[in-house]
């Protein structure tokens, strides 16, 4: 979550001699990240990223607390200003509404009635601050809620008191109940949402998310019910997610803001109503807080801190840092109670304020693991290098596909119709018209288990089958394995993992023959539609002195084979290979009805 805060507002909570530039830089080093600092007339606006664990920093006060701890580490003076005006609280009056609260849903409930407000525009200074914070100024009453939320990080709601019928009952909604919110949207509730019902049996608030239209403040409002609560974070999150209403209030409530801050914010609200709207407190303050916050203690042994930081740091230094963040003798400040739970959390606080930039940089001196998995990533990369070296282009296509082919996993929440299934073959993705390859997983569903992720190699996009086949043959020649590929006229698909396991990167070496080979061409006329693969295979099988058979030329139905004869044990002569040659001619004749072109001696 990002929030914007003007420098002028920051100064209301913080006294410092650091410039906005330095504040931004130091905060980013040790605390919240200031993404942007922009000049706005005579002011500056900080755009700050607040991480989900630090809801306390979703406010001017929270950022100032951080700044007060961080800036002195960089040699700047920085001090948090404490509120000077102590409000006189009048508790002798009654409260005019009947209140019934389910504290499972609302751990702390406070409210007060403010009478005789005058609806008008807020003071210029306030409008300016709100607008620089990215909040639209509307009227003084609405602005007070927004101002309090941004200043303290505590969402606040205001009802038109006169529109509420004599009671407020905070309860869970029932499925199908409906409510129209301030922004005139009507929701049919999923049920299990925190709502407020009045004596007229109307829902008047979708708690923690947005108020109801039927009880909203308008230009005629005279009396206001000021309402400050904390809510069960899981309920708020659930409703907000289901309805898609991600208001800032909801985003704060779902992260559990500090319950100890509820009453101070209510008091600050009474004060603002007095100053900006001429309103006065006209009821006692209701403060229902059956299980008040109990301070908790979390600490980290000095040894752990030293070990993680890799520096010598003393206990007084650690204590000083923690004190600057509001920790007192190991007691966690209430606004950090949600986020600080284990010694490592303390390590983080100390380390960041000490300064990550001041920690040394060094490589591990611990043992290197030797427990390797089976996958051969080198061979995989080598295959890619070979194929690219032979002129193919590697492509990466999406594992998610549009076509519904049987045996594919389906996506439950597809981003688009193009990406609805997990593919079980690479082939349909390879529609390009140039020679390419890809190595990627395919996903084969298995009942009750994760799918099998099988590594597949596809070689695709060929117009000339012989070239495709040549690439496949060359690849398997590199593996020193017989070809195992599913071929079509344009692509070859190879189940890669078993092949990589079998592949021989170092083949068995054959001693070099000291006897030179005899190489000769034989041309045969072969009948139409004869598969040529088996013909070559048949020639090879005739005698082990035939070491190589290549198809080197074709003309119409004439096929020329270049045949290599070689022996490991003796020098071959033309005379000695004659019987083998004869066998070739005979075998091809009987098996494939071929005719030798020319005559044998």
């Amino acid at each position: 979550m990002n929030i914007s805060i003007p420098h002028s507002w920051l100064k209301e909570f913080l006294t410092t001699d650091a410039s906005p530039q330095k504040i931004a830089e130091c905060l980013s080093f040790c605390g919240p990240s200031v993404e942007k600092l922009t000049k706005a007339s005579d002011d500056w606006i900080y755009e700050i990223e607040v991480t989900t664990n630090r809801v306390d920093m979703m406010s001017v006060l929270g950022i100032c607390r951080e700044a007060a701890a961080i800036l002195p580490q960089f040699g700047y003076k920085a001090k948090l200003k404490t509120s000077s005006t102590l409000l006189e609280v009048d508790q002798n009056r009654s409260f005019p509404l009947k209140v019934k609260v389910d504290h499972q849903l609302c751990p702390r409930f406070t409210a007060v009635v403010i009478s005789n407000v005058t609806i008008k525009l807020s003071p210029l200074k306030i409008k300016d601050r709100l607008e620089k914070s990215g909040i639209r100024a509307i009227n003084n009453v609405v602005d007070i809620s927004n101002y309090l939320m941004r200043a303290y990080g505590q969402p606040v709601h205001t009802f038109d008191f006169d529109k509420i019928k004599s009671a407020i009952i905070l309860r869970l909604s029932r499925k199908g109940e409906s409510l129209t919110t301030l922004d005139s949207k009507t929701f049919t509730l999923p049920g299990g949402d925190i709502v407020i019902e009045d004596a007229g049996k109307r829902l008047i608030d979708l708690c923690g998310i947005m108020g109801g239209l039927n009880s909203a403040v308008d230009n005629q409002t005279k009396n206001v019910l000021l309402f400050v609560q904390t809510y069960s974070p899981t309920h708020i999150r659930r409703t907000s997610m289901i309805l898609g209403q991600r208001s800032e209030a909801a985003q704060i409530f779902e992260k559990q803001p500090d319950p100890e801050q509820v009453r101070p914010v209510l008091l600050a609200g009474i004060q603002l109503f007095k100053e900006w709207a001429g309103g006065a407190q006209s009821s006692k303050i209701i403060n229902l807080y059956p299980h008040p916050y109990k301070p908790k203690t979390v600490s980290a042994p000095l040894q752990l801190i030293k070990e993680r930081l890799g520096v010598e740091i003393s206990q007084p230094e650690v204590d000083k840092i923690l004190k600057s963040l509001g920790f007192i003798n190991g007691q966690v400040p209430s606004w950090r109670a949600k986020d600080i739970n284990i010694p490592e959390d303390i390590v983080e606080e100390v380390a960041r304020i000490y300064g990550y930039h001041k920690l040394p940089s060094q490589l591990m001196a611990t043992p290197i693991p030797t427990n390797y998995p089976e996958t051969d990533f080198y061979l995989e990369q080598q295959i890619k290098q070979w194929l690219a070296g032979w002129g193919l282009t590697e492509i990466y296509t999406n594992s998610l596909v549009s076509e519904n082919i049987p045996g594919q996993l389906k996506i439950k929440n597809a981003l688009s119709a193009d990406w609805q299934y997990l593919r079980n073959s690479l082939a349909p993705s390879h529609t390009q018209n140039f020679p390419a390859f890809e190595i990627a997983n395919i996903y084969l569903p298995r009942a009750g288990k994760l799918p099998e992720e099988r590594l597949q190699l596809i070689i695709s996009g060929f117009k000339d089958f012989a070239k495709l086949k040549g690439i496949v043959d060359a690849l398997f020649a590199k593996f020193h394995l017989p070809v195992e590929a599913k071929l079509t006229t344009t692509n070859a698909v190879i189940d890669l993992e078993p092949i990589m396991k079998k592949a021989k990167i170092y083949p068995q070496y054959q001693p070099l023959s000291i006897f030179p080979p005899i190489i000769e061409d034989l041309t045969f006329t072969i009948p139409l539609k004869t598969f040529i693969g088996p013909v070559i295979g048949a020639i090879k099988q005739i005698d082990k002195i035939i070491t190589k058979v290549e198809l080197t030329k074709t003309y119409e139905q004439n096929f020329t084979f270049t045949i290599t004869y070689q022996s490991q044990t003796k020098q071959l002569s033309a005379l000695m290979i004659a019987p083998t040659r004869k066998k070739i001619v005979q075998k091809l004749k009987t098996k494939f009805k071929t005719d030798l072109v020319g005559e044998l001696d």
Binding site: R237, P367, F434, L450
Partner: protein
């Protein structure tokens, strides 16, 4: 022996020549029809000395050619070295594969073991074991894609992994006992598609677990990667951040390679953000069966596309191109 003597004699004379003219004379004297080689060979048994004759002749010829080139800088005949060559077929390794190989090489130098873990995984490994229980607001940061399949009774829903961090607990389960130095590199998926995000992308995850692993070790590893990947002058820096599965957590920046950290239009501050890192959360170690009181660790997980975009000089402005089959793009690699 006579042939060997002849060869040695010829090679010695050739090496002493100072002009092309002299070389031409030597060529005639040794290799001519009535030259010394033929004269010597005439007196020998042709069957036994055939091969040696050929070798001698070849040796003298190549010595002549080589000397000729040394003397004149060109071969004797006119030759056009400016004529275009015949290209071998030029294929193209995909930049992602190139990056993956380099990342693997860098971390292997530091003793990391590369592994590959499921792309389709249980919620347990992707979130739950990483200290992100169901409905935790931290899960909002991941635009998770769910598979339409029954949930596992213990491990939860079937999802497309949103990050390579699902390998953390899986690696702890695989090796059972530290030391761990894992590099998990693979495909991840999130419901996002724009010039800087693709629904399918790649991440690499480092995980180190052992006794006494500290923040300085993480910094050392980051600095090492930065120097190898971006260049020798590059530095890293870590800033506070939050992840549920690390404590403390960091955001990692490297000095901008465009301006060497001075600050420019591209980086503003002199730094560019690369990704997240942190010290492994004790709950994650426990989930992987490792005692967090005895061991500590660090982890980082970054986008391959992200570091590729930041590779000096590359400047890929739209990463969606990586997963298109655009030849104009692919042929540049």
């Amino acid at each position: 022996m006579p042939l060997l003597n002849l060869k040695n004699q010829a090679l010695a004379l050739i090496s002493q020549t100072v002009s092309g003219q002299e070389l031409a004379q030597l060529r005639i004297a040794f290799l001519g029809r009535k030259g010394q080689l033929n004269q010597v060979f005439k007196k020998l048994d042709k069957v036994n000395y055939g091969r040696q004759f050929n070798e001698t002749k070849q040796a003298i010829e190549s010595a002549l050619t080589e000397r000729q080139t040394q003397l004149t800088g060109t071969t004797a005949e006119w030759f056009d070295l400016t004529a275009p060559g015949q290209l071998p077929p030029l294929g193209h390794l995909h930049p992602i594969s190139q990056a993956i190989a380099e990342i693997q090489r860098i971390f292997e130098h530091l003793g990391f073991t590369r592994v590959r873990y499921p792309e389709v995984d249980w919620d347990h490994y992707v979130f739950e074991a990483l200290n992100m229980p169901a409905d935790h607001p931290a899960r909002d940061e991941w635009e998770t894609i769910f598979i339409d399949a029954p949930a596992h009774p213990k491990l939860g829903q079937m999802v497309l992994t949103t990050h390579t961090s699902n390998g953390q607990v899986r690696e702890m389960e695989r090796v059972k006992k530290p030391p761990i130095r894992m590099l998990n590199l693979g495909k991840c998926y999130r419901r996002q598609q724009d010039p800087t995000h693709t629904i399918m992308f790649h991440q690499f995850e480092g995980l180190v677990v052992d006794k006494g692993i500290s923040i300085p070790h993480l910094k050392g590893t980051l600095d090492y990667f930065g120097r190898q990947w971006f260049g020798p002058k590059i530095k890293s820096r870590i800033r506070p951040f939050h992840f549920q599965f690390t404590e403390p957590s960091f955001e990692v920046d490297f000095t901008c390679t465009a301006c060497n950290g001075r600050g420019c239009r591209f980086c503003k501050s002199g730094w560019v953000e690369v990704g997240g890192a942190g010290m492994v959360h004790p709950k994650v170690l426990s989930a992987g069966g490792i005692d967090p009181r005895a061991y500590s660790g660090f982890a980082f997980g970054w986008g391959v596309e992200r570091v590729l975009r930041l590779k000096p000089g590359l400047n890929i402005d739209d990463i969606r191109l990586l997963y298109s089959t655009n030849q104009e793009f692919l042929n540049q690699f």
